[in-house]
């Protein structure tokens, strides 16, 4: 195992996030292994060989063991895992996919994973996301590739009541998005005088 110190892009925001009220909770998810998956000639219904039945419905995600499988495109998925190292995940997937002309690419450090929870989190998201995130249309299992503020994100609905969302953002944009979220939440984090 690695002894080298890992540094999270949002390390400097941890204390600020921790002080937020429950209505607009922001949690930085720790280092998660992620791989971009292309099936190539492997039939989607054979994707169980990857350890998960990949979601076929556009803009959805499913649990995959201790991680998630996120639909990104007609032949593109994002697989996450908290049990494997990035290399283990990529190697395992490539072993299945390469013989079929598919591909798996380690993108663990490409994105940062945030979790937004609380009864006002949908109001915060509405300040910068043009999509309809009402629980009637965006409930657990839904995902979207969209923009939040001026950053591209993958948004995951983690609950049926709109109070729990996962956000995947490019690592280089993470600081911007963190600042943006804190600013967007100001109305709910400032106590009335």
């Amino acid at each position: 195992m690695a002894e080298l110190l890992r540094t999270h892009p949002l390390e400097a925001w941890t204390d600020t996030f921790a002080a937020l009220p429950a209505a607009v909770g922001i949690t930085v998810e720790p280092f998660v292994a992620m791989a971009d998956v292309r099936l190539g000639a492997l039939a989607p219904d054979e994707s169980a060989r990857l350890g998960v039945d990949l979601p076929r419905t556009p803009n959805t995600w499913v649990p995959a063991g201790d991680g998630r499988a996120v639909w990104l495109g007609p032949d593109e998925w994002l697989l996450t895992s908290t049990a494997e190292t990035p290399e283990e995940l990529e190697d395992r997937l490539r072993a299945v996919l390469v013989p079929h002309g598919g591909a798996a690419v380690d993108v663990s450090a490409q994105r940062v994973s945030l979790r937004l929870t609380g009864e006002r989190v949908r109001d915060v998201l509405a300040r910068g996301c043009a999509l309809d995130l009402h629980p009637r249309v965006f409930r657990r299992g839904a995902c979207a590739q969209t923009t939040l503020g001026l950053a591209g994100v993958v948004l995951l609905a983690l609950s049926d009541d709109g109070s729990d969302h996962g956000v995947l953002v490019r690592s280089s944009f993470a600081g911007y998005l963190a600042d943006w979220l804190l600013d967007a939440a100001l109305e709910f984090t400032t106590t009335e005088q």
């Binding site: 110190l5 540094t7 996301c129 043009a130 001026l150 280089s172 600081g175």
Partner: protein, 956 residues
């Protein structure tokens, strides 16, 4: 000053609280619920400012956004220009002044917050008057997601301005109950003080909510002052009511002249008597309500001047009871008074001829020429308007997909009709959404409607004043008159759009709310064509003015544009780096030591790299994982040179061209496996190159079994550069044999550091011995720190983009986008060696055979050395050639090219430049000139590689 014109009771103001404010420096008072205009009128003050061109006194002429006159500047608490006194809610400490047409921007930054919110609904209802409330209730009761927005401070619309009864009690009680019912519906968003100002395709409506403006200095800082709502609705109900229209007559602009309905609003809503003695001039029944209400409130109504030959017979008895003289078949031809109207000039009108006028004393002249439905949102959504001859108004015509007008906005004129129309349109919206109306969706009962006498369509009264229309104001804000329209028509203009632009009518803050349709009518009269043929000008957003601050929202300051940073950004900041923007990336430009300017720092950094070792954060380089059995085939087609022959473990520099054969990007390619490559792009080209590859794979070569994935932020890239780089790399990564023979130039090796995979690559962008360190960004800081520690004994020097640019320019390595501009081929850059002659095809190949691409006179990349050894040529400078006799050719002097890069060189001990110069390579050794500050700087043309042309340094 006391509130001389306040009623004893009534109005929707809080008389128990007194607010202090100043206007034009005068201290005045009002109450919560007042607007600035109502508070001024309560003090007997009509006059607001003088007009923009003619300097004529102007006052409050309307009660809301239709007012063409009452522009004010707010001075306190924050300076803001061009607001209407009729729409500014009064607050304690307000300081305002009248504006003669033009405002003054604040000279201090606006510290208030502004934001935007996206909101999606099934049904959006614009306007909370009777029709809008009915529509919203119908939709909400059916369980639809509803948004109801209204621009006033409270719901009710026209019901706030009258004495209507619903279910036998004042209609405002029904309004309160409706608002409460909506508040209890979880899927209803109800916003007051919110103006829907633009409607667009697919049910997209923009609205501005004024959240804290009315709180003045008490506004909480953490709340946005204004908010732009980005509303998306499956169905939009436009229940925006109607604007009253004046009639044009001579001197119709004096303070004290206002719309009849506005006077009713001031009376009933604000408890204000706009005058003591009134004359009412009308073409329709609605103004009788104003006359009677004002009379009951104690105003002496001198006369109702009704242009219709028979007037309104069924209102006659009421007027007689109230002692109000009615003059049917009469018109107001003009007025007297300067600061305030003193007399209305009344004359009989018969057969289009005006008789002799008599002066009737008054301090208030109310006017009604009919009602224009507020069709703005319908028209913006490209609804086609239809002219109604009887009403003299433009009404919504055919339905627009997903958008319908209801109530007065659709031309309905009575309360019961508006309620029913709102419910009807609300139910139609539900039907389109496949929702059933609720069983208990009932309407309140309204008094029976008395069919009014037919209105008369009268745009203007013939001018008997002798002024020939020059005092008959159509657009009061623009000081534009009937004479101006006549001049436009006389100049041959027939299109209403041209008349608008010629006269400027309708271009002020109110966008012609009172003047637009009048102009159509008057223009039609002058042209002798029907009004429907003239039509209206185009309604465009915004409906009312919106400040740029509100539109900018939170995208200001640091949030204006995302700052992308690398995994070791914090280290750069701690080292005091000076940063520069590279696209959205923020990169260290140089690391100044105490006392150093950029020149000194860059010269030091360059010298350190060329003599010992430096380190750069190159993580911003674009990186694309190209994977699949046909990966090599794709790269052979995308790059100009051969990539399929690259061996696993090796690296090759490649150039990418567009189909025109012009260079679009460049970078190195690492072959990781038979079926896997890592392609590095320029920082700015990362997204473009990935899109480029995807476009070709998806549209032209879908048969290729290859997948491209961005890994730009997966891998950090740290070039360790200089003659001592081998020592540093060897010390940090003992598992790698760094000897030149074992690890030659343009190869890569995988290793691990404490179990973490690391890839090292012998790639040089400086000509020096160099290693790029690639690894998972999680471990970036730890590895960067180790490299710095290991390099300390060699004085390892972190360097920024500026030094990187100098070092590469000394070697003649171009920066795509700086030394190229989309018209430069690889051959122009001296890189014919990077263009394969073996490959059957690749993007750009065909273009290289075109005569223009092989013309020896093309601009080519060369080096320039200013012969004085000291001038740093500005990038962008032109390069010219003197005649053999040393004289500059006569103008226009032929330009041979321009300087693309220019720096001081520590290695050369002098400044140098790269330039694109016509037939440049054939000019090597010649002296050309660069005009600079009025003189000509001689420069020697050289090869583009100025340092180590033999490449002796790259292996250390």
């Amino acid at each position: 000053m006391t509130s001389t014109h306040r009623t004893v009771e009534g109005g929707r103001i809080d008389r128990t609280t007194t607010l202090g404010f100043t206007f034009d420096g005068e201290a005045l008072t009002g109450h919560p619920g007042d607007t600035l205009a109502s508070a001024l009128l309560a003090a007997g003050r009509h006059s607001i400012a003088t007009s923009v061109k003619l300097g004529r006194p102007r006052g409050v002429a309307g009660a809301w956004a239709e007012d063409p006159c009452g522009l004010v500047q707010i001075e306190e608490p924050f300076p803001e220009p061009m607001l209407l006194a009729t729409t500014v809610e009064l607050y304690d400490g307000l300081a305002a002044s009248g504006l003669p047409g033009q405002g003054r921007l604040a000279d201090v930054p606006d510290s208030a917050r502004y934001d935007a919110v996206h909101h999606h609904v099934d049904v959006l209802v614009v306007g909370a008057g009777p029709a809008g409330l009915a529509a919203a209730l119908t939709a909400a009761r059916a369980g639809a997601r509803v948004a109801l927005v209204d621009e006033q401070s409270e719901a009710g619309g026209s019901l706030l301005s009258g004495t209507d009864q619903l279910d036998g009690v004042p209609a405002t009680a029904w309004v309160e109950a409706a608002v409460q019912e909506l508040a209890g519906s979880p899927e209803v968003l109800h916003l007051q003080r919110t103006t829907a100002f633009g409607s667009y395709d697919d049910g997209f409506v923009l609205a501005l909510e004024r959240r804290t403006d009315h709180l003045g200095a008490a506004a909480p800082e953490h709340l946005s002052r204004q908010r732009v709502w980005r509303l998306r609705a499956r169905s939009v109900v436009v229940a925006t009511g109607a604007h009253e229209r004046p009639v044009v007559f001579a001197d119709n602009d004096r303070p004290g002249i206002m719309l009849a309905g506005a006077a009713r609003t001031f009376l009933h809503r604000y408890g204000v008597l706009p005058g003591r003695e009134a004359v009412v001039f009308t073409t329709n029944d609605s103004a009788y309500d104003a006359a009677l209400d004002l009379s009951r409130a104690g105003v002496r109504v001198q006369a109702v001047v009704d242009a219709r030959p028979d007037g309104a017979p069924h209102r006659r008895a009421e007027c007689d009871d109230a002692g109000i003289p009615v003059l049917p078949g009469s018109v107001v031809t003009g007025t007297r008074g300067v600061e305030r109207v003193t007399h209305a000039l009344v004359a009989p009108l018969a057969g289009g001829e005006v008789g002799a006028s008599s002066a009737v004393g008054c301090d208030l002249l109310l006017v009604s020429g009919g009602w224009n439905p507020a069709v703005h949102l319908y028209s913006q959504a490209r609804g086609r308007l239809r002219y109604d001859e009887e009403l003299g108004a433009f009404l919504p015509g055919d339905d627009v997909d997903g958008l319908a007008a209801a109530g007065a906005a659709a031309g309905v004129t009575d309360l019961a009709g508006c309620l029913a129309d709102g419910q009807r349109v609300g139910r139609a919206a539900l039907a389109s959404l496949q929702l059933e109306p609720a069983a208990d969706d009932r309407l309140p009962s309204a008094p029976e409607f008395r069919t009014p006498a037919a209105p008369m369509v009268l745009w203007r009264v013939p001018d008997t004043s002798g002024a020939e229309g020059t005092t008959q104001f159509v657009d009061l804000q623009r000081d534009a008159t009937v004479a101006d329209i006549a001049r436009a028509v006389g100049a041959g203009l027939r299109s209403i759009e041209h008349v608008k632009r010629y006269t400027t009518i309708g271009t002020a803050h109110d966008q012609g709310k009172t003047s637009g349709v009048l102009t159509s009518g008057i223009t039609a009269e002058l042209l002798g064509v029907p009004v429907r043929a003239t039509g209206t000008t185009t309604f465009r957003p915004p409906y009312t003015p919106v400040s740029f601050a509100a539109l900018a929202g939170r995208d200001r300051g640091r949030l204006f544009d995302p700052e992308r940073v690398t995994a070791v950004h914090g280290w750069h900041v701690a080292q005091g780096a000076v940063f520069e923007d590279v696209g959205q990336w923020v990169r260290p430009r140089y690391y100044p030591q105490p006392g150093e300017d950029m020149n000194a720092a860059v010269l030091r950094e360059c010298a350190a790299v060329r003599t010992s070792v430096g380190i750069l954060d190159g993580s911003t380089l674009g990186k694309i994982d190209v994977q699949g059995p046909d990966a090599a085939v794709l790269l052979d087609r995308i790059y100009t040179n051969l990539m399929s022959s690259l061996k696993v473990g090796s690296v090759r520099y490649g150039v990418l061209c567009g189909v025109d054969g012009m260079v679009i990007d460049d970078g190195t390619v690492l072959r990781l496996a038979e079926d896997r490559f890592l392609a590095l792009t320029t920082t700015g080209g990362a997204a473009k190159v990935l899109d480029w590859m995807e476009e070709w794979v998806q549209t032209e070569w879908p048969d290729l079994r290859v997948h491209c994935t961005s890994v730009t932020e997966q891998w950090v890239t740290f070039p360790v550069v200089g003659p001592r780089s081998r020592d540093v790399i060897g010390a940090v990564f003992p598992g790698v044999d760094v000897a030149n023979e074992a690890f030659p130039f343009m190869t890569w090796r995988d290793t691990t550091l404490d179990g973490v995979p690391v890839r090292l690559a012998r790639i040089s962008f400086s000509g020096e011995l160099a290693y790029e360190v690639h690894l998972n960004a999680w471990y970036a800081m730890a590895v960067w720190t180790r490299l710095i520690e290991a390099g300390r004994r060699y004085g390892i020097t972190p360097y920024g983009t500026e030094t990187m640019h100098v070092l590469r320019a000394e070697k003649g390595y171009p920066i795509i986008g700086q030394d190229t501009d989309g018209t430069v081929t690889p051959h122009d850059l001296g890189m014919a060696w990077a263009v394969s002659k073996k490959k059957p095809d690749f993007i750009g190949k065909r273009s290289f055979a075109r005569p223009a691409n092989t013309d020896p006179r093309r601009k080519q990349l060369v080096g320039l050395l200013p012969t004085d050894g000291s001038t740093v040529l500005p990038e962008g400078s032109q390069v010219v050639e003197l005649h053999p006799d040393g004289v500059l050719p006569p103008p226009p002097v032929p330009m041979l090219g321009h300087v693309t890069s220019s720096y001081r060189s520590a290695e050369l001990g002098r400044p140098f430049a790269l330039a694109l110069v016509r037939a440049g390579r054939s000019r090597i050794g010649e002296t050309l000139h660069v005009p600079l500050d009025g003189s000509l700087v001689p420069v020697e043309v050289t090869a583009s590689v100025l340092v180590d042309p033999e490449g002796a340094r790259r292996d250390g």
